[in-house]
């Protein structure tokens, strides 16, 4: 079986669901003959026709808004935003309508929509093309927020997102769109939403990261292992709702934790992880949870983006600080 990249896994999942369900409609800017600017919809229009794989006029508010009406009528719209930096005009419809229709109508109408967007930095793109503002969406009640970090998880989680009866924001870490190849059978087998994945087991420290930041986090874990520190690496994958149980289970072993994300620190999802660990697992901790994140600055133009993004060194340093703290208190 051929190995495929994360972006090809996205295409494979879209094709699988379009084949299985005539209600699935894929649309967005340049998703048709062009196959999307990242080629995530490559070949879909040819295969499923222009009635189901549709190029829209250039208007993000519209892309978000029509999904609400389409979904209320029983279709399964999968809308692509070209970059996360251009999703903001769509927020009104996501926040005020898609996430609320089921509740507002007491279950009469619902919005099974997937809003896809490539996100994250590190590809030397112009301004507005490197954003990681997932926390904006995590704050919205009624939404699911999903970030895959491998081809297999991109395939399985996107299938789950399209089949989910509620709206899902599906953020694709574009820095690793083509970073690794994996065998991903087109089995139609979805992965569970609302469940974290343990990507690496270890008893000394829990590292939590998602999306492209897992690349550096796993590298850091490798480096730490060479020094005798065994890190457990957890990918929440569904950022909202957050599977804190998997984190707590890990803390039962490790008693130490570092959260890594590309997004700015203030009110980033690391803060939510820290808060929930405090609420549910304070007594398990031997040291305060540390966050390794983007800085509370605007995402810089690309010459400085590697200074902004959490790198292996920052993660390793944080792990050592947390462990030194625990040791210093004789714990």
């Amino acid at each position: 079986m051929a190995e495929i990249t994360l972006v090809q896994a996205v295409t494979q999942a879209l094709a699988h669901e379009m084949q299985a369900d005539p209600r699935v409609i894929v649309y967005g800017e340049d998703v048709g003959i062009n196959g999307g600017v990242f080629r995530a919809t490559e070949g879909l229009q040819e295969r499923f026709g222009g009635a189901r794989v549709i190029d829209t006029p250039l208007a993000e508010t519209m892309i978000a808004g029509i999904a609400v009406g389409m979904a209320a009528q029983g279709l399964r719209p999968v809308a692509e935003f070209q970059f996360m930096g251009f999703i903001y005009p769509a927020l009104d419809h996501i926040l005020s309508h898609a996430s609320r229709f089921r509740n507002r109508t007491r279950g009469r109408l619902s919005c099974p929509i997937v809003y896809r967007a490539p996100y994250g930095g590190g590809i030397h793109a112009p301004e507005h093309h490197s954003e990681s503002t997932e926390a904006l969406f995590a704050h919205i009640p009624g939404l699911r927020l999903v970030v895959p970090s491998s081809p297999a998880r991109a395939y399985g989680l996107l299938l789950a997102a399209i089949r989910d009866p509620d709206p899902v924001i599906f953020l694709e870490p574009k820095r690793i769109y083509r970073a690794v190849r994996q065998e991903v059978p087109d089995s139609g087998q979805a992965l569970p939403l609302d469940r974290a994945f343990v990507l690496r087991e270890g008893g000394d420290i829990t590292l939590i990261a998602w999306g492209a930041a897992l690349k550096e986090t796993l590298e850091a874990a490798e480096q730490l292992a060479a020094e005798g520190i065994q890190a457990e690496v957890i990918d929440p994958a569904t950022l909202k709702p957050l599977d804190i149980h998997t984190v707590i289970d890990s803390l039962e072993k490790t008693h130490c934790c570092v959260v890594v994300h590309e997004a700015a620190r203030f009110c980033g999802l690391g803060a939510e992880v820290v808060a929930q660990v405090n609420e549910y697992a304070f007594d398990l901790l031997k040291a305060p949870v540390q966050r390794v994140t983007g800085y509370d600055t605007v995402m810089p133009y690309y010459q400085l983006e590697d200074k902004y993004l959490p790198g292996v060194t920052r993660i390793v340093t944080a792990v050592k600080e947390v462990r030194d703290y625990a040791k210093g208190r004789g714990l």
Binding site: Q73, L75, R102, R104, T105, R106, S110, P141, P241
Partner: protein
């Protein structure tokens, strides 16, 4: 000085439509649907709309209802739109649509529940596919475009009947990108969408004259490449005729239309507003002279279709209908606190179970 020579490339006209003038006299032959029975039925629904609105304002003033947006003076638009739609069509309303909602079969107690702070009002027992009232301005027009896409798609590919989406909005809505993005898309995709703008001259305190430099709102259709028409929004016959024609066009694959119905908001924006701060008494008095109910009543009287006896009988009947709705609204017990979680997701994610249980235990 250089004067460039230019060639005329395209030109456009905007038409307006009226059957009953402000004195209740016909300005042209009435359309076929305007039978005595139909006109009396419209008069009935417009009267009911005014009563439902009036009681809502009274209930708000006495602490029995939350903020309420009356449609006083705009009853012909709601009733005309509702009458022009097929029951199977999908209505995508803004928040000032009492008349159309009643036409669509939404219950009086449901309308009161919505403004009385109870989401269950939006769970329409009839009109199950109609969208809920939309409070954010113009957003429902984009939802309408999405509905129209779905209807067209299901008609073409899933063997469903040809149906039409009708979205409504106010004059202020035409300044929003959502409005323009919706009609632009609908034009390009030839969607079965009819957009009806209730131009009641006010977006809270901003008059129509300060909303846009456009002479009409109907002409905004031209930029989207779709038909645009202005109708006398205080003439229920004109509203119904225009909307019915647009709905028919859309149903037959002819694509979307924009209809500007010119009316006047004879009330405050909502019960939380005081229009006397920005609107002169003279303007208001002048607008009352064109209001839709008296106009239709005058016509019905002069055509020998109506009289004091019928009016008395109607008032009696509608009062009963209204009182029943009020009673049903007031007698509906408050929803369980946990209802706020029950329909947040199809199934409550485990992560929120603890909060759900906290609420269940009394908070």
């Amino acid at each position: 000085m250089h004067k460039p020579r230019m060639q005329p490339l395209a030109s456009f006209d905007i038409a307006s439509l009226q059957y009953l003038d402000e004195r209740g006299q016909t300005t042209q032959t009435l359309p076929d649907f305007a039978t005595p029975d139909a006109l009396v039925a419209h008069y009935r629904q417009m009267t009911l709309t005014r009563m439902v609105d009036g009681r809502a304002v009274k209930m708000q003033r006495t602490g029995q209802l939350g903020t309420y947006p009356s449609s006083l003076g705009q009853e012909a638009i709601g009733v005309g739109v509702g009458a022009a739609m097929g029951g199977e069509d999908v209505y995508c309303p803004n928040y000032r649509e009492t008349g159309a909602l009643l036409e669509r079969g939404v219950a009086i107690e449901e309308i009161y529940a919505i403004w009385g702070g109870d989401e269950r009002g939006q769970n329409f027992r009839h009109a199950r596919e109609d969208l809920p009232l939309s409070v954010p301005i113009a957003t429902q027009i984009l939802h309408g475009a999405g509905v129209a896409f779905a209807l067209k798609y299901k008609n073409a590919h899933l063997n469903e009947p040809a149906r039409v989406a009708v979205a409504s909005g106010g004059d202020g809505a035409t300044s929003r990108g959502d409005f323009y993005e919706a009609i632009n898309l609908a034009g390009e995709w030839k969607l079965p969408l009819v957009v009806v703008i209730n131009n009641n001259q006010w977006a809270i305190s901003l008059p129509r004259s300060e909303q846009t430099a456009c002479k009409t709102l109907a002409q905004k259709a031209i930029a989207a490449g779709i038909p645009g028409l202005q109708v006398d929004g205080n003439d229920v016959i004109a509203v119904r005729q225009a909307v019915a024609e647009a709905v028919g066009l859309a149903r037959n694959g002819g694509g979307p239309s924009l209809i500007e119905a010119v009316s006047y908001r004879l009330c405050d924006h909502t019960t939380a507003d005081d229009a006397s701060r920005y609107q002169s008494k003279e303007t208001l008095r002048d607008a009352w002279s064109r209001e839709p109910l008296v106009r239709l009543r005058t016509y019905l009287d002069s055509a020998g279709l109506w009289g004091d006896n019928q009016e008395e009988e109607l008032q009696r009947e509608l009062t009963q209908t209204l009182e029943k709705g009020v009673r049903n609204y007031k007698e509906t017990p408050k929803d369980a606190a946990t209802a706020m979680f029950d329909h947040l997701y199809a199934a409550l994610p485990e992560a929120f179970l603890e909060q759900y249980q906290q609420l269940q235990g009394g908070g």
